[in-house]
Subunit: 150 residues, 2 copies
DNA sequence: CCGTATCCGATTTGATACTG
DNA sequence: CAGTATCAAATCGGATACGG
């Protein structure tokens, strides 16, 4: 957790009443959270659970593409971070309900803003990518095979 | 990229004048963007460039921990997505200036909101993690015990 | 100064099969 | 229904060396 951090301009300062010190802002917590947010399924699940609680298989069907392994793993991580609550009903067969904690709900807002941005600018991004992929120029070097760029 | 999508509740609907159709919202663009946001360096660079344009080695020194490979790769991806502009001054020795495009600047806002959330709730997350790691119970399997406790 | 090429270990993810 | 176990594949990321 500790260790390296970087010199970061006060991007957030514009409306922080008690502005976060740049040093505190640095890579550590932000990087952590961005990586959690950035993994393939976490925020999708948070958004889903933001709508209403879901049962395990409900999530599995809703996401449709996620493996059981990843669904379970992601939910566990979210739970350990205090974003998701797991409630087991001791019925038979068992049923488990996942829901957002208050902390999870608070995350929903910034995440929704980002999701909103993604939706609004999807086309621009794709256009830019296509343009970049096409252009033999526009990139520093070669038209010859280069598998390194995705 | 087109294929699978998920059933998503209208989390964002609360203030979307022309609400994004749930189908459009789905996993595809959001997942893409979240993964970009979540990779180790992208958003750090976006935030850095949000402060002011930087030259290559300036970034390299500022981030301090990133390898040349990853710096270049990340910048290229950002460029291909249309978030970052790369300007080459044909001097000798060469100098290259990276800056945010308008699209990149627009991303800065939701990202800052998320970064802000991260800073504000870091402690809660860590506390929750520690609690979860400690507890022999609180986790589904656990050694030997009653699974039906809250 | 601004990169690229190559190698290699670490981490993440998916497919599949099995269980209380 | 709600998971766990195991294996293999893809991807990520860093170190190092070299090039225009």
């Amino acid at each position: 957790m500790s260790g390296t951090h970087t010199d970061v301009p006060s991007v957030l300062a514009h409306e922080l009443p008690r502005p976060v010190p740049a040093d505190e802002f640095a890579a550590c917590p932000v990087g952590e959270v961005f990586r959690r947010v950035g993994d393939k399924w976490s925020m999708l699940l948070v958004i889903l659970l933001g709508g209403r609680p879901h049962r395990y298989n409900e999530l599995h069907r809703a996401v449709e593409g996620i493996s059981q392994r990843m669904l379970t793993r992601t939910l566990r991580t979210l739970e350990s971070d205090g974003l998701v609550h797991r409630r087991v009903h001791p019925t038979v067969p068992p049923s488990v309900e996942y829901s957002l904690t208050p902390l999870g709900r608070s995350l929903l807002e910034p995440v929704s803003a980002l999701a909103d941005w993604a939706v609004r600018h999807e086309a621009e991004i794709n256009a830019s990518r296509a343009r970049y992929a096409d252009a033999p120029f526009g990139r520093p070097d070669a038209p010859v095979s280069d598998p390194a760029v995705r």
